[in-house]
């Protein structure tokens, strides 16, 4: 199965990239956009099974995300 992992800066943590994007959007005519947050999207494939969710969760905690500054969520997709 496939896991789709979304990693974003934790709420309250300054995201300089997001802020810069937010500031440049009005220049293109997009007014009123706020809270732009830039994160990462990671796709991976792993063996099907009941343990897959727990495995991905552990991967996120141990490597894919840094829980001190990042939040993560993931979905499992069976193709």
């Amino acid at each position: 199965m496939k896991a789709k992992v979304y990693i974003t800066p934790k709420a309250g943590i300054l995201d300089p990239q997001g802020l810069t994007i937010e500031r440049s959007l009005p220049a293109l005519g997009f007014e009123g956009v706020s809270n732009v947050r830039v994160g990462k999207y990671i796709e991976l494939e792993l063996p099907d099974g009941e343990a897959a969710g727990a495995a991905v969760d552990e991967m996120c905690h141990k490597l894919l995300a840094n829980p001190i500054i990042e939040d993560f969520e993931f979905e499992l997709v069976t193709e």
């Binding site: 943590i13 300054l14 300089p16 001190i68 500054i69």
Partner: protein, 247 residues
């Protein structure tokens, strides 16, 4: 006739870890070897033997291409288990720049790094105020001393949550802060947005120290300064002092 046994002075032994992508390893090696009382050797990241060492340096650079997050992959190098054991046993470990990021990712120091506030790689000379000189890394400085040391990084924006910060402050674990020439920790003297102008922290036991600035680059007048020398001098004195005390 009494013979006072000539105490043999063995040099303080430093190991400099070389990860794929390290680029300040040679600077660190040379800085250490410029001291009469010290010797250095390189440790490949796949090595696991660190036994006969007194101090370990995790140098700056771009280990594993900074993939995923700076230091995130290097912390799984075989040598890191040995470095952890070494630190748990009281050995002195200093992480400089990328080495600091690795210590954070490895959980050997509290907090995390993210991108510089200005989004740019910053390479320049900065001033640091020595906040705590009661560590084996800073004993050679005066409390509050202002030193000039270069930085060169893109992810040096130190972050820790409120509780963590309070603990750091209460335990004297904030070792150096970015400041101006007069020693004032102003927003303008903060090159990367680090919380509380924090440039370097140590663990609670004070034998693990990480900092973004590069003391090894200011160990010789010929490269523009010697303000970094006291870091290595302090480490050498700490080890030599301990050895003398146990004799």
């Amino acid at each position: 006739m009494t013979t006072s046994p000539q105490t043999e002075v063995t040099p303080v032994r430093f190991g400099v870890v070389v990860f794929p992508g390290s680029n300040c390893d040679a600077d660190s090696y040379d800085a250490v070897r410029s001291f009469a009382g010290a010797d250095a050797r390189y440790l490949w990241h796949k090595d696991t033997e660190v036994e006969e060492l007194d101090c370990i340096i995790l140098p700056g650079g771009f280990s594993y291409g900074d993939y995923l997050r700076c230091g995130a992959i290097a912390r799984f190098s075989p040598i890191m288990n040995s470095v952890k054991r070494f630190a748990d046993g009281g050995g002195l470990v200093i992480g400089i720049c990328n080495g600091f990021q690795i210590l954070l990712e490895a959980g050997m120091l509290p907090g995390a790094m993210h991108q510089n506030e200005g989004l740019k790689f910053v390479c320049k000379q900065v001033h640091l105020r020595v906040e705590n000189n009661e560590t084996p890394f800073t004993a050679g400085y005066e409390p509050g001393q202002v030193i000039a040391v270069p930085i060169a990084h893109h992810e040096g924006n130190y972050f820790i949550d409120e509780t963590g910060l309070a603990e750091l402050e209460a335990n004297g674990q904030v070792v150096v802060r970015y400041c101006d020439e007069q020693g004032e920790t102003t927003p303008a003297s903060n090159p990367n947005g680090s919380l509380g102008n924090i440039a370097g922290v140590c663990n609670r036991e004070r034998n693990v120290f990480g900092l973004m600035p590069h003391p090894e680059r200011v160990c010789d007048e010929i490269v523009g300064g010697t303000d970094g020398r006291a870091v290595f001098e302090s480490m050498i004195s700490a080890v030599a002092g301990k050895a003398a005390a146990s004799r």
